[in-house]
Amino acid sequence: MSGKGGLLHERINSMTICGDRGFNIGNFGDCTSRFMRYLCRVLCAIFLLAGCGKQSNINDDAITFCSESNPTYFNPQLDTSSTTADASAHQLYDRLLEFNPTDGRIERGLASSWLVSNDGLTYTFQLQRDVAFHQTDYFTPTRTFNADDVIFSINRWRLASHPYHEVNGGNYPYFDSLGLDKTIKDVKRINGYRVEITLYTPDSSFLANLATDFSVILSQEYAQNLLEIGTPSKIDYYPIGTGPFKFSVYKQNQYIRYIRHPDYFLPTTGAEHLIFDITPKPSLRMAKLITGECDAIAFTSQSDLAVISERDDLTLLEKPGLNIGFWAFNTSKAPFDDPKVRRALVLAVDKTSLLEAVFLGQATRAKSLIPSASWAYQSDAPELGYNPVRARELLDEAGLPDSFTMDIWAMPVQRAYNPNAMKMAQLIKSYLNEIGITLNIISYDWNIFRENLTLGMHDSVLIGWNADNGDPDNFYRPLLTCDAIPSGTNRAMWCNKDFDALVQQALLTDNFEKRKQIYKQANELLFAQMPLMPIAHAYQYQALRSDITGMEINPFGGIGFDNVERMP
């Protein structure tokens, strides 16, 4: 017995143990019986063999991205959450127009050129030629992209009578919140590669809206096929688009796989495979980034930013964000319909401590909705300070009972505009305790959370908004106008006629100065009514491994992997 044991012993010592970490076998010598000692050697041999070498990626041209939760559909038209946008907008589809990520100007996308009539009512688009759709195992396109696809994509959400309008729920939150279906009069097909869109009233933000992540171009031929087979709902679960990647397979709560679209009409240097590894916990995403199982991760938590910048194998991209994190009160519910109560709640909370504790100083203080990065930023906007005594007086004036309980809904997921809503809720809870209000914190799974929010079951909610285009209207209309309530983007359920009038009026002129004046009046109205407490405009971060290039932060929404590759 010992003979064999001895032989193995030498073989272990002579074997080159990977890495320089010498492993002293000697300390296992104290197992007394020969069999025991032999057992120990075999065990540590197995363990050592397995521990060989750092994680080496066999399949080199594959990029793994750790996303934070499951997309509801693979079509951003149907859902405003950034998870769906990340998973589909820039990967699977293209848009008529695109934003330049650096300066926000509008560039050409599928539309090679466009013409705006001087009365601002008709827009004509000249389309790109020979743009191929995806060829997958569930659909093979016979023709390339043309005007029919554009008309199909727009009419789907515009016309209630469209065969595909009711498919998969039939609500299009982004477009409903902007009321775009009321502004577009008609979409005409001039010829195979030219489309003309006429509006009822001029809308200076229309072009910007066509470039957002939500206005993607679907395949009309694929839709036709599905209608014939009788499974129209598959269009949003098994997507077909013109984007840089094709959809391969999706396993809920686990992963999404994409394969490169070989004949994509733009030259890209992206990887052959793209994998979204769904990891809900931020600390788990961070760990996977460190061990190299993920090449890039979504929404790093604020506390880890310092750790990333210290490590040399990780890089951190940073950009001032076009977003707003706020604490919205459900104005449709008593007592939050009384502005006094809302002002008292805002006065009772110290915004600076929230910024320090939750954003760890990596965010700018929000006075009103518009962040400093936008041209419509109003630096001298009025703001309520921290004054608990005044808050208590206001509450007594409003006739609120001494021991008043309310709930606050905290988002379970991480977002740039609010990296840790749960923690912020706990801080607010201790502040409200001081003025005699008990606050209970409620949280659900992200999709259920948003469903219940649209139903208005909440008293107040900690949430925020990511801009989709540089236009300030993209903050005011979806967040606070009456149309936005049914679509679920107006979390404060606040409907104020003269506020809507102001926002509508701002759209009519595209002269920046005049629009700034109108938005100034809107800010004063908001300050008086205070339907929500603006908290912060956070910087946007993107953490990734150092050997990944071609990735940049797009302030206007979803992440794109078309030019992302791994340096050898």
Binding site: T64, I275, A287
Partner: protein, 343 residues
């Protein structure tokens, strides 16, 4: 033998029936709309609601509903998850083998490390190695599994960066899901780099298996050591020694079997703790098993999934425990068969 077999069969049938009955009654207790809890589909329109009610015989008596439920159960139509609208049968068929696999690894380690070490330390119960084993076993099975997993992750994944920390295999390998057991799937789905895939899957399996197998191994060690030490004091061992058999002969012929028989039922009970630990560890290592799936279902309040998942796991654990008990009773000659089939 036949009498014992019949007794165990009827015990199995009673328990399965009780479980199916329990899983049938669950939706009535779950909050929210009964129809969604049963079928998973939230009826959009009125006539869809009527169609569903007729399909599940909700307006008839309980027995008819139970009958409908049973026929659906055997037909494999377990309803649809109310969150992801995916067929539950396929979801469970996808998730369950992963937990089974993790459990088998841990059981393998526990039996082939726990029992021999238990025997060895029991036989040599007066030297330092035995003291070491005893303290290791007490410390071992008082570790909270989830904390042990976290410590392993911080140590082996983050500091030493030896082992990967999540999932069953690196997502780079496109392993088709055929049987659900990762190693078999790798071999069956002909990859170009099968060897690396197997090595990668092995590295992924080490930490989860280690985290749950330590607790079970230590329990096995403790039971076997106690049992072998009792057996060595017994009269027939001293008689065998007096007949001049070697240590090894005595161990193989007499003490091994006599020591193992009394503890097999207790080891069978460890399976249910093993399943609990496997389900907890899955959430930490994001192992795509049924535990992870069930806990996601709880977070998303996906009641049809909870009901189906609960039924599958409970049935599996129960049948396994009862069969193990039956096997021990069958091969145990010391007691006559008419003794009650006390589980």
């Amino acid at each position: 033998m036949i009498k014992l077999f019949i007794r165990y069969i009827n015990l199995m049938v009673i328990t399965i029936f009780a479980l199916v009955l329990l899983s049938f009654m669950l939706p009535f207790f779950f909050p929210g709309d009964l129809l969604t809890n049963i079928s998973g589909i939230t009826p959009q329109s009125l006539e869809q609601r009527q169609a569903l009610e007729k399909a599940f015989a909700l307006n008839e008596s309980i027995f008819v509903q139970f009958q409908v439920y049973l026929s659906n159960l055997f037909a494999g139509d377990w309803g649809v998850s109310s969150v992801s609208q995916l067929n539950l049968y396929d979801e469970i068929a996808y998730a369950f083998p992963a937990t089974l696999e993790l459990m088998l690894y841990a059981l393998f380690v526990a039996t082939f490390v726990g029992i021999p070490v238990g025997f060895l330390s029991g036989l040599k119960h007066h030297n330092p190695a035995d003291m070491g084993v005893v303290t290791f076993s007490i410390v071992g099975y008082s570790f909270p599994v989830f904390w042990l997993a976290l410590v392993f992750i911080t140590l082996f994944c983050l500091q030493l960066e030896w082992l990967p920390m999540s999932g069953r295999i690196d997502l780079l390998f496109e392993v088709k899901h055929i049987t659900g057991f990762v190693f078999i799937d790798i071999i069956l789905s002909d990859l170009n780099n099968t060897k690396e895939a197997i090595e990668n899957a092995f590295r992924h399996a080490i930490l989860p298996t280690l985290s749950i197998s330590i607790v079970t191994t230590c329990l096995f060690i403790r039971f076997t050591r106690r049992s072998i030490m009792d057996v060595m004091q017994k009269g027939y061992i001293i008689a065998a020694k007096s007949r001049g058999f070697t240590q090894w002969q005595i161990f193989i012929k007499h003490s091994f079997k006599n020591a193992l028989i009394p503890i097999l039922p207790i080891l069978a009970l460890q399976i249910s703790t093993l399943v609990t630990n496997a389900m907890i560890v899955e959430t930490i290592f994001s192992w795509p098993g049924i535990g992870n799936w069930l806990i996601q279902a709880i977070y998303q309040q996906d009641y049809p999934a909870i009901r189906a998942g609960m039924l599958v796991v409970a049935l599996f654990v129960l049948t396994l425990t009862i069969t193990l008990e039956f096997i021990t009773r069958a091969i145990d000659p010391t007691k006559d068969e008419t003794a009650r089939a006390a589980v």
